[in-house]
Structures are given as structure tokens and as C-alpha cells.
Symmetry: C2
Subunit: 192 residues, 2 copies
DNA sequence: GTCTATACTGCGATAGAC
DNA sequence: GTCTATCGCAGTATAGAC
């Protein structure tokens, strides 16, 4: 195997493993497969992570954190509900196009296969934040809905399904080209 | 193991295996586990299905067919776009409550892990049918959208996300109790 | 710290009794 | 047709050289 900067090796393992996990599923990815994909040896991998499960958990935290940070960056400065929800949609669409492996992980990875007691991904910080935005929007009349949770489902459902179909190559058009129309439909489902 | 009607054994294997597959993932379910869950021996299982993969494929066809038939039954007699799309939503909600294991399979199973060249589930007959309904609805002015595919995404996204969250026990309310509100949001996203 | 070689476990699938 | 016992293989993780 060619010489690799040692500082990069851990990252190479994380990157390769994430792509394999999301493509083949946790239990269908062997350590030898990660060795082949990353160019890092078994011994080195086990020097970074005690078990395959711990490696998967690390990947999970990293992926969740990255999406959350991107969302917070986009959210800054948005004043009304429509704009804040648009920030969520833009984060999803932008991530889908610029780092499809990350978005694929977030949407399709079955993390229950290696973490038993984890809350569903929709309890994570970004989704709780979206629920709050919808709640506030209903309170000040920007959004028309009897139940903020149900309204949140309608909006996020329309946005996330677009990302899913794009990642499965069913949607041929890049999401940024049709973002306006997708967001318009999602917003129409709950606007006042 | 207790005496079981031989005619039922095949069905017991199919049922137990489907639940295990959807809960743990194909590669994390061993034949011994299916033996334990179904009460049918290894030898009998291999007399019904040549391999574990063939068993999984059979389960897949059966699940897809069942949902499709239920959808077609509900669709009969509906005249306009709104009612036809409502039939789709009702089929999803009803299946989620009455046979959650089936709906969980349809929404979350990664069938690519045991079938390589299969089209995504959204190319399946029910989803093609929904796209046609939306297309016709746009043509006769019942639906306002520039693109039938994008509009279909908005509607089905809102509906399917509700089913997902219900199956993950995030939504505590049975879907039939909030079906009207969910359908109203989905329809609002595309109505003329 | 990092490598290769290997120990041990549990899998899918089969064989042979009934 | 159905059962139990077992084969061969691939997996995770480790050990010991460098």
C-alpha cells in the first residue's frame, strides 16, 4: 500500500467505512472490506477504534453533527417561519448534492443495527428545531394548522422525499434547480 | 417443538422471517434465528426455499403484491384526483395500523442487500399509478403544478413521512384519527 | 504504531437417519 | 418430508514480528 500521511489515515477509514455501511449495511461490511477500500491495515484500524461497532458509532455522531452545524449556519439571520423552514430545505438539498454520501447516511442508514437504545433520528436536534419553528409560526399566524407536529410532518416529508428520490437516482434533475418549486409545494401545505 | 399444521409452516416461516429481516436487517438474521422464531426446523425451511436469499425475495414479492392489491381495492370507484390520492393515503394509513410489520417492511427494508438489480420501490406499480393520477389532475385543472413528478413527491412525501414516524413510535396517535388533517396538508401542497 | 498471520466463533447449507 | 448433526467458510478480533 502506498505511503499515506498518518494523520489522514483515521479520516480515510471513517470515510471509506461510511460509504460501505450506507451502501451495503453494517453487517454486510467486513473489516477486510474496509481495509481494501481505505488502504489502511486491520491492525491500524483496531488501533483507532476498539471494535467495528465503535467505529460505526463514531461515524454516526460525526454525520449527525455535520448536518446540524450546516443547518445552524443557514438558519442564522432568517427572521420569519417561511425563511427558517426554507433554511432547512436548502440544507437538505445542498447536502444531497454536495455530499450525497452524508445525506444518504442520514436518510437510509439503519443505525439501530449497531446501537440498540438510540432515539430515532427525527428526535435529533435539527428536527426538534424544525418543530419549534412550526410551533412559533402557528402562534403568530404565519402557518395555518391545528397541530404543529402534524404540520411539521407535512413540510419535512415533502422536502426529505425529494432528497430520497434524488439519491436513488429516480430524480435526474439536481435539487438546486427545482428547489424553489419543491419548497413552494412544502410551504403551500401549511401556509396561513 | 409443538405440532403445527404442515400447511401453515411455510407461512409461519415467511411471517417470522419478515419480522426479523425488517427489525435486524437481512444479514443480521441467521437461519437458526428464523428456526427459533418460527418453530420450523432448518431442514424444513430449506425444503421450502433453496437459499436464504430466495426466502427474502419471496417475502419481498409477497409484501409488494399485498400493498398493491389493497391500493387497487380502495381506488375502485374514486372519480376525481383528490379522491384517488386520498385512496393512496388511506391505504398507507390503514396498512400502517392494521399490519405495521408489512408497512415497516415496505418503508424501511433495504432490499438491495439481497437483490442486486432491483428497481427502487418508488418505480413499483402503486407509485407509478400515483404519478399518473397527478398527471391527469394537472391536465384537467384539479391540481396546480408545473411538474407532475415534483407534485407527486410533495403529496406522497407528506403521507409517507407520517407513516414512518408512526412506525417509529414518534407519533403516538393512530393515523386514522389524524388522517383527515394529514391528507388536508398533503392536498393543500398541490391543489389548484 | 503498524503490519501479517492466525485463533476462535458462528454462519449458510448439506447429509443421512427416520 | 422433516429432523439433527455437521462441514466448510468467512467474520471479528488478537498476537507477535518489525
Amino acid at each position: 500500500m502506498r505511503k499515506i500521511n498518518p494523520a489522514d489515515k483515521r479520516q480515510r477509514v471513517l470515510r471509506s467505512a461510511r460509504n460501505l455501511f450506507v451502501k451495503n449495511g453494517f453487517h454486510n461490511v467486513s473489516i477486510p472490506a474496509i481495509v481494501r477500500a481505505s488502504g489502511v491495515s486491520t491492525g491500524a484500524i483496531y488501533s483507532y477504534f476498539p471494535t467495528k461497532e465503535a467505529l460505526a458509532r463514531h461515524i454516526h455522531e460525526q454525520a449527525m453533527g455535520e448536518f446540524h452545524r450546516n443547518f445552524m449556519l443557514r438558519l442564522a439571520g432568517r427572521t420569519n417561519s417561511e425563511e427558517k423552514l426554507r433554511a432547512f430545505a436548502e440544507t437538505v438539498f445542498e447536502t444531497t448534492e454536495s455530499d450525497p454520501d452524508l445525506m444518504e447516511y442520514l436518510l437510509f442508514m439503519r443505525h439501530g443495527e449497531f446501537m440498540q437504545d438510540t432515539a430515532p433520528i427525527c428526535f435529533s436536534e435539527p428536527f426538534r428545531r424544525v418543530q419549534e419553528i412550526v410551533k412559533d409560526g402557528i402562534a403568530n399566524g404565519e402557518i395555518a394548522a391545528a397541530d404543529f407536529f402534524i404540520a411539521g410532518i407535512a413540510y419535512t416529508g415533502a422536502i426529505l422525499r425529494a432528497a430520497e428520490l434524488r439519491l436513488q437516482c429516480v430524480l435526474k434533475t439536481p435539487l438546486n434547480e427545482i428547489a424553489d418549486r419543491l419548497i413552494a409545494h412544502a410551504w403551500a401545505s401549511i401556509r396561513g
